[in-house]
Amino acid sequence: MTTRIKHLYIHVPFCNTICFYCDFAHRVYDFSLAEKWLERLKKEINDNCKDQYETIYIGGGTPSCLSDEQLERLLNMIDPYTEEVKEYTIEVNPESLDQDKIDIFKKHHINRISIGVQSSDDEILRSLNRRHSFSDVKKGIELLKKNGLDNISVDLMYSLPGQDMDILRRTVEDILELDVPHISLYSLTIEENSVFGKRGISNLDEDIEADMYEYIDKTLRENGYIHYEVSNFCKDGYESRHNMGYWLYDDFLGLSIGASGKIGNNRYTNTRDFNRYLNNEYIRDEDLELSLEDQKFENIMMSLRTIYGLDIEEFNRKYDCDLEKEYSKGLNNRYIKIENGYLICSNFELLNNVLLDFMKD
């Protein structure tokens, strides 16, 4: 495959503290370990990056927990591939934002900041083992805006242990006050390998979770946000281009520990094991040759997550097939509609159920 890859993702596997809900690949930040990681990543970037990317996303973990000097080095490594970049995002935690970091971001043309806010309730933040308070968030966002970095996304969590509708309502009000153009919404999923999972904490009742989702959806839409993807809201024109790449099932290159990528019919996930990563070449936890059927299903699965849906004509061309004939069961689902040549799921909340009808036996 020689087609150009448009999206690059780099995973920074360090955090200052470990949040209780998280099971991503990460370690508590350690200067010398981060040094070794940077050295290893440099080789991985040199070996794999061949394109000028339209979108770059540095996620984690917490990229901002690197020292300023290490952050500089990381961004220097990526610089050669940023000539045509339109959206360049970095994830930060509110407490690690300061003028020095922001100066580094600007120097390297980072133009979008994703902040892990999660909640405006300090008690809930503590129960998640987050280090920041909501006032840190407000200060950080003010600072970003002052520096002209106003393409900001905040992460918001719901269905949290100890959270009820009143707390959620206050949180949503607080988030609206931040006046940011993009909000990502996560319901807490208790992962087996997270601290919550190990402590045996269980999910909130399904009905409460649905009530919360519906409340957030309604309130954000009333306040001018577009619910453009199952778990994402934005002001007009502020869709995450990088994430749209995933949802349109574009190819993307993922680098570093635990990162995933998809290039043509190859979908992979890098090892989550630090030692194996640091000592070896490219060891992958998952390295799949996707069949045409796999690719078609995954494409549908991802595209139905957005309000824009799936371009049926493009799909038929890409996979040389007839979607409407092949997926008649899916098309008969009461929450599937076709509008202007796009296949659209009209009920995000039941997307799994809808997708089951698109799976072949």
């Binding site: 993702y9 990502s184 919404l185 996560y186 319901s187 999923t189 399904e206 009905d207 979770e209 649905a210 989702y213 199952v230 778990s231 994430n243 995933y246 993307f252 993922g254 635990g258 990162a259 995933s260 990528g261 998809k262 979908r267 996930t269 998952e286 799949l288 299903f297 995954e298 699965m301 991802m302 997550r305 689902n333 009461r334 929450y335 995000f348 909340e349 039941l350 997307l351 799994n352 159920n353 997708l355 089951l356 799976m359």
Partner: protein, 605 residues
Amino acid sequence: MKNLDRNRTRNFSIIAHIDHGKSTLADRILELTETVSKREMQDQILDSLDLERERGITIKLNVVQLKYHAKDGQDYIFHLIDTPGHVDFSYEVSRSLAACDGAILVVDASQGIEAQTLANTYLALDNDLEILPVINKIDLPSADIERTKKEIEDVIGLDCSYAPCISAKTGLNVEDVLEGIVKYLPAPKGEASDPLKALVFDSYYDSYRGVVVFVCIKDGSVKVGDHILFMQSNKEYEVTEVGVKTPGEMKKDRLEAGEVGYICASIKSIQDIHIGDTITLKDDPCKEALPGYRKMNPMVYCGMYPTDNNKYNDLRDALEKLQLNDSSLTFEPESSKALGFGFRLGFLGLLHMEVVQERLEREYNLNLIATAPSVIYKVTMTDGSVRYIDNPSMMPEANVIEMIEEPYVKASIMVPNEYIGPIMQLSQDKRGIYKDMAYLDENRNQLIYEMPLSEIIFEYFDKLKSVSRGYASLDYELIGYRRSNLVKMDILINGEVIDALSIIVHRDFAYNRGQAITVKLKEILPKQQFEIPIQAAIGNKVLARTNIKSLRKDVLAKCYGGDISRKKKLLEKQREGKKRMKAVGSVEIPQEAFMAVLALDDDKN
């Protein structure tokens, strides 16, 4: 190999109530006789089915040859036939007893004799076996050796003066059991020089060797190359292999009178083998066949259907092979509007049914849906004709029925005095008719009730155990059909009658059962994209109704690049779950829903 010395051979079974330590004693005997080395030893070694080990019960009989050097200085050959203890498997017990000359009756010294102790002892006496009582678990603080001996003497009438008192768990005095076998159990009576007469008491299917037939050689001998005749099926085969179990299969040149072993003869046709048949030599047949076994009639029926309709033939093959190993199982094809094509299976009891389903799923890799168990009803129609109905959905319309009769059993319950009250209450609630109470000793009584078999399979046994904290034991035998006020209750899901969920219920209990079932189904049925009403009805009259709310939210919120794999795996898992469900109309019904009709009345809270 030296000819077998029949006088120094003993063929015996161990019989006991469930949990009285039968398999543990067998383990100790295998160790003491060094049949199995310490290295190979594991608990319940004769229980070769995974299911037996998991549940800690014996389901299948198993046979093993042992060598014992007795205190009289002589070497003895023992054939030990391990047998199940549960009431459902008394057929297995009676089969193994027919291959024996003696039996060891194991009684737990902390429990005393129980319902199955009696039942199994009577089976042994019916087969003219010598019985050696063994008092087990004497290491337990609650053991009462003298009381247990007295119970055995008073209730069964066996002399306990020479009964070994042992702990199979610790191995204490187990050697006394081996000496007791030598001294008190008789040697087999047959003659090696007479024409071959061998009893077929078990078999299983081996894909390389064909049917492997377990036999007890009563007279004569058999060797590789012999042409044998199955007297009942009148089929001939040439013997390809003979051997004994030690407990692994060990090939031998020949088997002769007094030995218990196996025969292979490239038998591919499963239908030729009947448990209880007699094998003889084609050219030198014995005069008459052995009496064989009394055919056991199934007491409990249920439908079994492959979740995948294409597996119907696989299920039939599996049933044929399983029947070879479990001759008390019966089956015939049936079809259901809800479930498609399957079979109606007949069992000796509920545990038997559970075991068969698990064996079919594990050993034959099938996904099955079992409908709730039912007894067989005798229905007299208004025109005077009589029908037997083993499937509730086949019950004729009420207006053409003159009367319905159901099977009744005589239930014998042994119970410590303090639980007599609750058990009498329970038995009465289950339509039991009090018949008798007999004192076993100052602490325990035997209660006799007559009650409908359907109540016993519904929940009587479970409740008996819970109200007596496990101390009551139950045995029952069929005593005939009696008229009852029974009605057919249908279950409707999304407005459709699901035939496989119909049950026959006593009119007085219909309302409560309907409530319990609909509530249970509400828990079991997965939410779907629309609201689903569940109703229980007799004819057009709805007795109970509940609704399953529609599914509101199932989507995994986050899904970025790295989540594709995770998300897809989740969906695949959901799809696999769906495969184990039956789509009935527009509703997906999981396997366990078909058992929901067994929901206990108490569950509704």
